[in-house]
């Protein structure tokens, strides 16, 4: 039984904001199925009483004083903008 369907792959691609062709979806279904199948070997391990590791070092929230500091200028922030108008990032229509 396959672990992931082509429809699921298309749905995941949408969530990931990737455009995939039919051909790519087919290849990805096959490859992801293989990788996920390989990952399922983790199910051999009983982890019911194991805490998950999100971070290897014991860190607590790092806070700093809320002070005003220098930040980048609008001109600098816009330096790499693909499209810009009046110091703002320009994007295609959001609302129809």
């Amino acid at each position: 039984m396959s672990r992931i369907s082509k429809d699921q792959v298309k749905h995941v691609a949408h969530l990931a904001r990737l455009a995939v062709t039919e051909e790519e979806a087919e290849l990805l279904t096959e490859q992801l199925d293989k990788i996920i199948g390989f990952a399922e070997e983790l199910n051999e391990l009983d982890t019911d009483n194991v805490e998950p590791t999100t971070h290897v070092l014991e860190l607590k929230n790092i806070l700093r004083k809320d002070e005003v500091r220098n930040s980048v200028s609008v001109d600098e922030a816009m330096k790499n903008a693909p499209s810009e108008r009046d110091g703002q990032f320009k994007v295609p229509n959001i609302l129809e």
Binding site: I4, Q8, V9, V12, A13, L15, A16, R17, L18, A19, V20, L28, Q31, L32, K34, I35, I36, F38, A39, E40, E41, L42, N43, E44, L45, T47, V50, E51, P52, T53, T54, H55, V56, L57, L59, I62, R64, V72, E76, A77, K79, N80, A81, P82, S83, F89, V91, P92, N93, I94, E96
Partner: protein, 485 residues
């Protein structure tokens, strides 16, 4: 002997006695790059004009007797996922082909304070995803020992450029072996520091809980110099550790008497080539001869590390790479009429195959209904893998094994099946999952290609790793071997 074959301490002596100028060093560097980089293809961007100006400025500083930084006048290459203000930084991706950062990474700032010269930016697997440099969005880099073989990855060009004598040293980044595996393949010294020792501010994030920047050099002493310059807490990186930074150069005592070495049986088992095993056994004999002892141990969960790593790193990557949306920087597709289409088209045109595959895997593992089964399960197994290391380090000082299961392989020989390529990293990945430091040092050859010895240490105990690596280096001459180009 070319001036580029010398160690930092030797070059500093020659600068001090005025037998050499910084301009001489920079000239020799670019001469070498122009001579061999057509074959090696390590650089994506050269910073030649600036480097020559900076060399002159440093030479003036030399004459004036002003204070000199720790790495004064030393040319360095920087992996292209570390941002450099005003110098194009691409992550070897088409999506960032024309990206010019507006700030320096903390490590770059620290290197500038140490008076290094950024010679150029080094090729890599796109967004550090790969083990051969063949995933670069621009061109592959070749192994200086055999140009038809891969240099490893993802910091393949960081290792190849140092091995080829194009730069004295370089910075790489290591998420699952990306410094150590190419260092092994190219016969150079590469360290992945303890997670949190070196600031990640300005390292374009792949998997934030695993990524670390580290030094690639021709010898252990230079490696310690470079780490000394970049290590230490940074308020700009909230995961950067608040620990005292020791004097790494003081660790070169040459003394390993009484050192307790653990050798995991999983690291010399199935899948590890005979030529690799032989070199590692020879290395253990040398260390034994110097007064160390070794015993076989087990890292029982290491066989689950690869699956754990691919689930966790891809999940983190899928979140981190969502910032590339064609809005604020990077490639924007012209082929779209609305915003969602613009995101999708820009990302699909800009990212390469492997990057898309991992974003897909990560998005799947994090998606509703699968999160507990894949992502959370992998986080739990990560705990077990980490505990394996904790248990061993209660009794032993270091863990030693090979860096990779084989020597380098032919370009194109592993590109068809992603899983086969992933197997390259089975001996390096557990280290990232546990967050401990590890170095790869040259320990000989198999069929003419270099083999790396991996020395793994306790959290924040880079000093012991350096002490052992240095003692081994002093007892052998592998590090003096150079590829013929």
């Amino acid at each position: 002997m070319s001036i580029l074959d010398k160690k930092i301490s030797e070059l500093h002596q020659l600068l001090h006695t005025k037998e050499l100028s910084v301009t001489d060093i920079v000239d020799a560097t670019f001469d070498r790059i122009h001579q061999v980089d057509g074959k090696v293809k390590a650089f994506l961007t050269l910073n030649e004009e600036y480097s020559r100006i900076k060399a002159k400025q440093l030479d003036e500083k030399l004459v004036s007797g002003a204070d000199r930084g720790l790495l004064f006048g030393m040319p360095i290459g920087i992996k292209d996922n570390i941002v450099t203000k005003g110098i194009r930084t691409t992550c070897a991706s088409r999506i960032l082909e024309n990206f010019e950062p507006i700030y320096d990474a903390t490590v770059v700032e620290r290197l500038n304070q140490a008076d290094t010269i950024t010679i150029g930016k080094l090729n890599m697997d796109e967004f550090a995803m790969g083990s051969s440099n063949e995933n670069s969005g621009f061109h592959p880099t070749n192994n200086p020992w055999d140009l038809s073989c891969v240099p490893g990855g993802s910091s393949g060009a960081s290792a190849a450029s140092v091995s080829a004598g194009e730069v004295l040293f370089s910075l790489g980044s290591d998420t699952g072996g990306s410094i150590r595996q190419p260092a092994a393949f190219c016969g150079v010294v590469g360290l992945k520091p303890t997670y949190g020792l070196v600031s990640r501010y300005g390292l374009v994030a792949f998997a934030s809980s695993l990524d670390q920047i580290g030094p690639v050099t021709r010898n252990v002493e230079d490696n310690a110099y470079l780490l000394q310059a970049i290590a230490g807490n940074d308020p700009m990186d909230s995961t950067s550790a608040k620990v005292d930074i020791p004097d790494y150069l003081a660790s070169f005592t040459g003394d390993v008497k009484g050192l307790k070495i653990a050798v995991p049986k999983e690291y010399l088992g199935e899948g590890v080539e005979p030529g690799v095993k032989e070199r590692v056994m020879e290395a253990l004999k040398i260390l034994e001869g110097l007064g160390a002892t070794w015993e076989e141990v087990s890292l029982p969960h290491s066989r689950y590390a690869l699956a754990t790593y691919y689930l966790l790193s891809s999940s983190e990557a899928s979140a981190n790479l969502s910032r590339f949306d064609g809005v604020r920087y990077g490639l924007r597709s012209d082929n779209s009429e609305n915003l969602i289409e613009m995101y999708k088209q820009s990302r699909s045109e800009g990212f390469g195959e492997e990057v898309k595959r991992r974003i897909m895997l990560g998005t799947f593992a994090l998606s509703s209904g699968y999160y507990d089964a894949y992502y959370k399960k992998a986080q739990k197994v990560r705990t077990l893998i980490k505990e394996d290391f904790t248990n061993i380090f209660e009794k032993y000082d270091v863990i030693i094994g090979p860096t990779t299961p084989s020597a380098s392989f032919k370009c194109g020989s592993m590109t068809k099946d992603p899983l086969t390529m992933y197997m390259n990293d089975i001996l390096t990945i557990p280290v990232n999952l546990a967050g401990v430091p590890a170095i790869s040092v040259p320990c000989g050859f198999s069929d003419g290609l270099p083999i790396g010895l991996q020395i793994i240490g306790k959290h924040f105990d880079e000093s012991t790793i350096y002490r052992v690596a240095h003692a081994f280096e002093q007892a052998t001459d592998h590090h003096t071997e150079k590829p013929k180009l």
